[in-house]
């Protein structure tokens, strides 16, 4: 995970460096900057979350609720990745808009899931330390979905300007 995060940081720096040296950019410069920065944050938060799981010694314990979150995150990231790739061809604007709606829907599902699992955690857990640990992890998982939505909003702003 650390390798992926470092690699992504390098790409972000590369984008910003290129932005400073490019005369005509495909989108507004501030949008390219924001997209690079916020997209990088998605990976940063996943990195922080996996680190925390190791720190709390949870990386080997299986939690059904976290599996649900992991599935939502995977779905949202995949959708986001395809949306960002689609920026090359803005003729597919309708498809891009549909993907943005899907990212938003997944984020709403994430909010709902977070409320459910936190309620369950506080009701059923017997060890207060477990409550603290898992609460942090679930909150992180939901933040990843929020971040995906933020990136989606930047893409949406780019689409509006290109319309």
């Amino acid at each position: 995970m650390h390798i992926i995060e470092t690699r992504c940081d390098e790409v972000t720096h590369e984008i910003i460096d290129k932005l400073n040296r490019t005369f005509i950019t495909p989108f507004d410069r501030e949008d390219i900057y924001a997209l690079a920065h916020e997209f990088d944050s998605v990976i940063d938060i996943i990195h922080a979350m996996t680190n925390r799981m190791r720190l709390y010694n949870l990386h080997n314990s299986i939690n059904k609720d976290l599996i649900k979150f992991a599935e939502l995150i995977e779905k949202s990231v995949l959708c986001l990745a395809n949306t960002v790739r689609g920026l090359r061809n803005l003729k597919q604007m309708k498809e891009l808009s549909e993907r943005l709606i899907e990212i938003n829907t997944i984020e709403n599902q994430g909010d709902q899931l977070r409320d459910e699992v936190l309620g369950k955690l506080f009701d059923n857990a017997t060890d207060p330390l477990d409550v603290i640990k898992w609460k942090d992890i679930f909150m992180d998982a939901e933040t990843v979905l929020d971040q995906c939505e933020d990136v989606g909003n930047i893409v949406e702003a780019i689409l509006v300007k290109q319309a």
């Binding site: 995060e5 005509i24 690079a36 997209f39 996996t50 995150i73």
Partner: protein, 85 residues
């Protein structure tokens, strides 16, 4: 008509871009809008489509390539999270 218009404004465009953006930087959508505006001022007609269109240069494509790399990294990161569970 549009080709003739383009050659007419070719020189002024180079000069104006710098004046327009101050720092000499511009984005493609802004450039399109600017050309459409000049077209309207000169001809008093609204262009049916963008009067100036260009395929992105290899340098501009590099942005898309870099965003593709970020997309791959994000998928990999989500995959790592998935395998932890």
């Amino acid at each position: 008509m549009q080709h003739k218009f383009l050659s007419n404004i070719q020189y002024s465009l180079h000069v104006e871009i710098n004046n327009l953006t101050g720092a000499g930087i511009i984005s493609a959508p802004y450039l399109y809008q600017y050309c459409n505006k000049i077209f309207y001022i000169q001809t008093n007609k609204l262009p049916e489509e963008n009067v100036m269109k260009f395929s992105f240069l290899p340098k501009e494509f590099q942005f898309f390539d870099m965003f593709d790399k970020m997309a791959d990294d994000a998928i990999d990161a989500a995959g790592v999270l998935r395998t932890l569970q």
